[in-house]
């Protein structure tokens, strides 16, 4: 599966557009629960636990998007975008979306 933020795949032509595919996941990120995060709020710096948490969440959203694309019979997802929005306080939705296409 080719994934790209561009609108085309080099040296290949788009045979068919299969529509939008998306994958998302909602994660809670209650910073107060984590002692290290609390400490980092005083001294500043990277919150590695959170970086990993969100990175994993994004991997999952991305994998779900690819699953959808596969189900549609696509071999590439182009113009991929990521988006993050907070659903309620302390929880956020991570979304990956793009256009599923067949390229040759």
């Amino acid at each position: 599966m080719i994934t790209s933020t561009l609108e085309t795949v080099p040296d290949k032509t788009i045979r068919e557009h299969l529509g939008i595919v998306q994958g998302s996941t909602v994660r809670a990120k209650h910073i107060g629960r984590d002692i290290m995060a609390g400490l980092k709020n005083i001294v500043g710096g990277e919150l590695k636990g959170y970086t990993e948490l969100l990175s994993e969440a994004r991997d999952e959203a991305f994998a779900r998007m690819l699953e959808q694309a596969e189900a549609k019979g696509a071999n590439a997802v182009i113009n991929v975008r990521f988006s993050t929005s907070s659903v309620t306080q302390g929880a956020s939705e991570i979304l990956a979306y793009g256009s599923a296409v067949i390229v040759e």
């Binding site: 080719i2 994934t3 790209s4 933020t5 561009l6 609108e7 795949v9 080099p10 040296d11 290949k12 990120k29 209650h30 910073i31 107060g32 995060a37 980092k40 709020n41 005083i42 001294v43 500043g44 710096g45 990277e46 919150l47 590695k48 959170y50 970086t51 969100l54 990175s55 994004r58 991929v80 975008r81 990521f82 988006s83 993050t84 929005s85 907070s86 306080q89 302390g90 956020s92």
Partner: protein
């Protein structure tokens, strides 16, 4: 007697806040300086891996492979800077302390994306985008902690 205990308690709270401010200032400055040093060193090393926001690829001898790459970081300001920012919010105006936070976060995210691209043997990254979200401790207005994501298309030359 009760009044004395109350005063002592208040004083104790003040001492804690001041101690946190000092700790935040010292640890925060050291952390920021160290982070900037690391950012500049790595930026020098990755300088030849060009990152652009353009969408069209330049003409190449052989069609390159393209794939999505990304890098992200969650980063927080220290207690002292958050205190300064709160003061700023009373008077309004530019909050320098948060500017450096976001600058560090964006540059770090780009570097991580570049490192991923380099591991794939890429020569350029096209159509890079940023995504920023705030992670705050329940209170809506406090920025304090941000996540920055940088993503783009790595161009891997063939042959």
């Amino acid at each position: 007697m009760e009044l004395l205990i109350e005063i002592l308690l208040e004083l104790w709270q003040l001492v804690v806040v001041v101690a946190l401010l000092i700790l935040g200032y010292i640890a925060g400055s050291i952390a920021e300086r160290r982070h900037y040093k690391s950012i500049i060193r790595r930026e020098d090393g990755l300088g030849d891996l060009v990152v652009v926001v353009a969408k069209t690829l330049p003409p190449m001898d052989a069609a390159p492979a393209t794939t999505l790459v990304r890098g992200s970081v969650v980063i927080s300001v220290d207690y002292f800077k958050r205190f300064l920012a709160r003061l700023r919010m009373v008077f309004g105006g530019r909050i320098h302390t948060y500017e450096s936070l976001l600058d560090r976060a964006r540059r770090e995210a780009i570097l991580r994306m570049q490192e991923q691209a380099r591991d794939l043997g890429a020569s350029m990254i096209f159509n890079m985008r940023f995504e920023t979200s705030s992670i705050s401790k329940g209170n809506k207005n406090a920025v304090g902690t941000v996540e920055v994501l940088a993503y783009g298309t790595a161009v891997i030359p063939r042959g």
